[in-house]
């Protein structure tokens, strides 16, 4: 029987090396010996994706590699996520996510969605080309804590500002995350967002940072 540390390294390495089959096999082996699933996800799969984000930042990986790493991660996640014990945890945190109306690009959106999946959130994925008011309706319906929106083109980015205004008017505590090529830190701040990612690869980095923030958020929620 392999040691837990060895299997965690395998999970991490197969994500980094975009080895979908290898990741699936490592996750199954990890699950078969009943090692803690959450640890496998966070210290194996997510740790691998963190390295992927770093490789992207260093221009060693580009978006095609990041997408293939994400496929490997999802292969492992499909096996480990159902094994995470639900007992002792409060209701799941929730996020509404989608690409804004007029934008049919969803690569960055899907990478951010992946990070919420990793963190165990309930994800309401509205898809792409989503009418502005649908974000508001879905947030109200689900009472989600986070709304994440993506736009790859300047021509659609302005819709985000309207959505943020509509949501914050109804519920100022909702966290807003923006992403996409035209979205800069300035734009995110100007629009009243709480976080941003400017590119698909950068979305992974931002997503990883957000996992830390989300954990703090969940801890404070559990304490209150």
């Amino acid at each position: 029987m392999k040691k837990k540390e060895d299997l965690l390294k395998e999970l991490k390495d197969t994500v980094i090396n975009y080895d979908e089959d290898g990741c699936k096999a490592a996750a199954q082996e990890y699950a078969d010996v009943n090692y803690p699933a959450l640890e496998g996800i966070m210290d194996g799969l997510a740790a691998g994706m963190q390295v992927v984000g770093e490789l992207y930042e260093k221009n060693e990986y580009f978006v095609p590699e990041v997408l293939m790493c994400a496929d490997a991660l999802y292969a492992g996640l499909a096996i480990l996520r159902p094994l995470v014990p639900k007992a002792g945890r409060g209701p799941k945190s929730q996020v509404v996510i989608g690409s804004i109306q007029g934008d049919v690009h969803d690569i960055g959106k899907n990478l951010v969605k992946m990070m919420f999946d990793v963190a165990g959130w309930e994800v309401y994925d509205l898809g792409r080309d989503v009418p502005l008011e649908d974000f508001v309706k879905e947030q109200m319906r689900t009472d989600s804590e986070v709304v994440a929106m993506s736009a790859m083109m300047t021509t659609t980015m302005l819709g985000m500002k309207k959505v943020i205004k509509m949501i914050k008017e109804k519920n100022p505590n909702v966290m807003i995350m923006l992403g996409g090529a035209p979205v800069t830190k300035d734009v995110a701040k100007l629009f009243g967002a709480d976080g941003y990612a400017e590119s698909a690869g950068n979305a992974v980095q931002e997503g990883i940072r957000m996992i830390g923030r989300l954990r703090e958020f969940e801890a404070s929620k559990a304490a209150s």
Binding site: V63, P64, Q101, H105, N110, D129, M153, T154, T155, L158
Partner: protein, 361 residues
């Protein structure tokens, strides 16, 4: 000496002849909401009528003293001509460009672009509107240079198959990707020739899907560059190559592709690019199409300062980094144009001035 017309200024720029002042134009989508309003059009209507396409382009250029008219605006023409349905957002109150919500080809293996598709492409979908609009502009606005454009093969492939599949296939099905890119390359060459034959004064090859924040410079060199070179080689001059996004590591390879001028967006470090290219290459760019002309909080003074920074970066003509966002702040955009004319009276690295402003030796 009398002030040059936009047409003269642009054509002399491409011909490397001295101009009176810096050109302010674009080769990418440039339709502006004040012009559309003045004409009484709705934004979705301008994409489906040659007349409205031409009139809105002319009015946009005249209203803000731009040197060129650009035809067309949206990026869905070819994908629609290959059988995909477009969404025009006719019911939306916002300005939304047409999109292809669902693509007929879901896998690379389904892609089949025949010789007949390429030969007949100009008669499919809305395609015939583009040469019609070009002819109207040429007749009605001879004082403006007319720019047409085509998406590059990789970006066009992403308009017909989901981009994430295309990107992954670069690794997993490289030969297939290259074969499809070759078909798109042939199609783009033929469309470009048709637009030039209709009267386009210059043409821009836009390949935003290949920036170095998306794919590696190695992939660009191996897969993209040979095809961009082939397209540019097949088109007559003047021709511009534009890539959005991170281009610092690509700029020299962009130059090798054979365009008469290069255009980059705000992510490019102009000063560094100019150092790499030298002073003999026409470089256009690169103002932020949201921050300067559109952002409600941007003052006229900030817009003016932004233009000066843009010119100081070493461009030979001020171009937007991408399609202009139609809903501009008029006072900002007018101030930007005036600043380019006044601050741009001095010679730029590759272009002299008629009043004696000489090139940097």
């Amino acid at each position: 000496m009398a002030e040059m017309s936009g047409y003269e200024r642009v054509m002399r720029t491409f011909g490397r002849e001295p101009v009176d002042t810096m050109p302010f134009f674009s080769g990418m989508g440039m339709v502006l909401q004040p012009a559309i309003k003045k004409l009484g059009y709705k934004f979705p209507q301008v994409h489906t009528s040659a007349e409205k396409l031409a009139r809105s382009g002319i009015e946009s250029a005249r209203m803000f003293n731009l040197d060129s008219v650009v035809i067309p605006y949206d990026m869905c023409w070819e994908s629609e001509a290959l059988g995909n349905k477009i969404s025009l957002y006719e019911d939306s109150e916002d300005i939304l460009y047409p999109t292809i919500p669902n693509k007929n080809w879901t896998e690379l293996d389904q892609v089949n672009i025949t010789d007949n598709d390429i030969e007949t492409i100009m008669s499919r979908g809305r395609m015939q509107l583009i040469p019609e609009a070009i002819k109207i502009v040429k007749k009605e606005a001879p004082e403006k240079a007319l720019g047409a454009w085509q998406l590059g093969p990789f970006t066009q492939m992403g308009q017909t198959i989901e981009l994430d599949k295309v990107l992954k296939a670069v690794f997993k099905q490289k030969a297939k990707v290259e074969a499809i890119l070759d078909r798109f390359t042939e199609m783009i060459i033929e469309i470009g020739k048709s637009l030039q034959a209709a009267g386009a004064d210059f043409i821009t090859l836009r390949e935003p899907g290949v920036a170095a924040d998306l794919i590696s410079p190695k992939t660009f060199k191996e897969i993209i560059k040979p095809r961009l070179t082939r397209i540019l080689d097949a088109w007559k001059s003047p021709k511009v190559l534009h890539i959005c996004g991170s281009t610092d590591s690509l700029i020299e390879m962009m130059h090798d592709c054979g365009a008469d001028a290069l255009s980059v967006d705000i992510k490019n470090n102009l000063i560094e690019s100019r150092k790499k290219l030298g002073d003999n290459v026409l470089l256009f760019g690169n103002f932020d199409v949201f921050a300067l002309p559109c952002k409600a909080e941007t003052t006229v003074e900030q817009a003016v300062a932004g233009m000066k920074t843009n010119i100081d970066g070493g461009v030979d003509a001020v171009w937007p980094g991408c399609d202009l966002w139609p809903d501009i702040k008029e006072e900002n955009f007018r101030a930007m144009e005036q600043t380019v004319r006044e601050y741009g009276r001095k010679a730029s690295p590759a272009l002299g001035r008629t009043d004696g402003g000489s090139l940097k030796k």
